[in-house]
């Protein structure tokens, strides 16, 4: 039940709905809880609603930070 997944916005639909995709699977969800959604954005999907946008720059920065940590570098 707590499962939430990152999905990509394919198409905006009327009434704050959007068609989203994950690895070739598509679904229509509500984006009423998230501001300024555009096609191509990644969203956290939970029980049919987007809860947040995924900040793609922060996602890359987190990975870079983790890789740096494996070298015994910065925290």
């Amino acid at each position: 039940m707590c499962l939430a997944l990152p999905v990509q916005v394919m198409e905006l639909l009327p009434d704050n709905m959007a068609k989203v995709g994950l690895d070739g699977i598509f679904k229509v969800i509500s984006i009423a809880l998230v501001e300024d959604v555009t096609p191509g954005d990644y969203l956290v999907l939970h029980v049919g609603y987007a809860l947040a946008k995924i900040d793609t720059e922060e996602a890359q920065r987190t990975l870079a930070l983790i890789r740096e940590a494996t070298l015994g570098g910065a925290a």
């Binding site: 039940m1 707590c2 998230v34 609603y49 947040a52 940590a69």
Partner: protein
């Protein structure tokens, strides 16, 4: 899969585990509670405990909404669902939770009650719209992640003038539960529990942000790292906790920064505030009654509040006395400490709530953890390049 596979890189996970091993002080122990069932699931599924040094212990917390719901609330929902005019809608995980008289929602449905499993509150609205002669009740459950969708469903129902839709609210609040656990960690009747830090919830924090945890970290001198649910997120967050403990600091850090901000989702918080108000007190399985730990519908929405509309009562209900869910939810006992575990209690025929949802500590341990080697974990990974 984008933003999933990158955070499941096995080599990176092992590299971080080595960093943890290098960082820990061998003269002390580290006890970290993961509040969320999502973390419990990831730790079991990816075998992360086996990658940790023996003096770093993970404690499974109560962050599975199915597990913490007292069975009296499900008994009340079944009482409602057997009325001929009622259609009860709810999420699938709740269907198999054992409750009083050997019943569950699934068994009540088999006996003729109109109980339907839905993926989303939107589905329950569609049912109410399509069947105006039925009274459609959404059995709402969950932490702050599922609360905004329930709030929106109510708003949509009002906008569509759906007089046959109502909500049985069982939404609960994460910070209140964490506070109770930390307040009672030394003095609870079930026994003391050592907690050096917490993995904070990922998706709950997309809604409420990291700010509500700051007062807890400060008041109880415990580091809290809000962590994503993928294995790399979890193991790196444990490293962040180890570093805080070593440095003697207790702050809130945000590892899941790609989706979580300090203040969270203002729009979602606004939807919650418009529809819900704090309950004075709410009973949690394993934790008892916690003040201001749950949400009920505001009185102006009384006609959409199933508890008021149908004069529901929550019967006092006893858990199976042999079931250790209460102690497991508080991290005092492990699933394997329960004499029912794996004997009469399995995911196919659960006796307690922790065995129902995949995020429950018992179910996660049954599915992924029970084949772990007894005693010392396999050390061969440490030699992998």
């Amino acid at each position: 899969m984008k933003y999933i596979d990158e955070y499941r890189d096995a080599k990176l996970v092992k590299d971080i585990a080595r960093q943890i091993e290098a960082a820990v002080d061998p003269a002390r122990s580290y006890h970290f509670m993961e509040f969320c069932g999502g973390h419990t699931y990831a730790i079991s599924r990816y075998g992360l405990e086996d990658l940790l040094p023996s003096n770093v212990q993970m404690i499974h917390g109560p962050g599975c909404p199915i597990c913490v719901l007292p069975i009296g609330r499900i008994d009340a929902a079944i009482e409602l669902a057997i009325r001929p005019e009622i259609t009860l809608c709810t999420y699938g995980d709740l269907m198999r939770v054992p409750c009083s008289n050997g019943l569950s929602l699934l068994k009540a449905r088999s006996a003729g009650a109109d109980i339907r499993m839905v993926y989303s509150t939107l589905d329950s609205l569609s049912i109410a719209e399509a069947e105006p002669n039925r009274q459609v009740v959404f059995f709402a459950i969950g932490f702050e992640t599922t609360t905004p969708p329930t709030a929106l469903a109510l708003r949509f129902a009002i906008a569509k003038d759906l007089a046959n839709f109502s909500i049985f609210s069982n939404h609960v609040l994460t910070p209140a539960a964490i506070k109770t656990i930390l307040e009672n960690s030394d003095v609870h009747p079930l026994g003391p529990i050592k907690i050096d830090g917490l993995l904070g919830p990922a998706h709950v924090s997309t809604v409420i942000g990291t700010q509500p945890f700051e007062v807890l970290a400060e008041e109880f001198n415990k580091p809290i790292v809000v962590a994503g649910f993928e294995p790399l997120d979890v193991i790196y967050s444990i490293l962040m906790l180890v570093r805080q403990v070593n440095d003697g600091v207790h702050k809130v850090e945000n590892q899941y920064i790609r989706a979580v901000t300090t203040l969270g989702n203002e729009k979602a918080k606004c939807e919650i505030a418009n529809v819900f108000e704090l309950r004075e007190s709410f009973e949690w399985r394993g934790l008892g009654a916690i003040p201001h730990s749950a949400l009920g519908l505001r009185s102006k929405y009384a006609k959409y509040d199933a508890e008021k509309r149908f004069e529901m009562v929550t019967p006092a209900a006893q858990d199976n006395p042999a079931c250790e869910c209460g102690a497991i939810l508080r991290g005092i006992k492990k699933p394997s400490d329960c004499k029912l575990f794996g004997k009469v209690c399995t995911p196919d025929s659960p006796m307690g709530s922790c065995m129902v949802s995949s995020e429950g500590a018992c179910a996660a341990h049954w599915i992924y953890g029970r084949f772990r080697r007894q005693g010392k974990a396999d050390e061969s990974w440490r030699t992998v390049a």
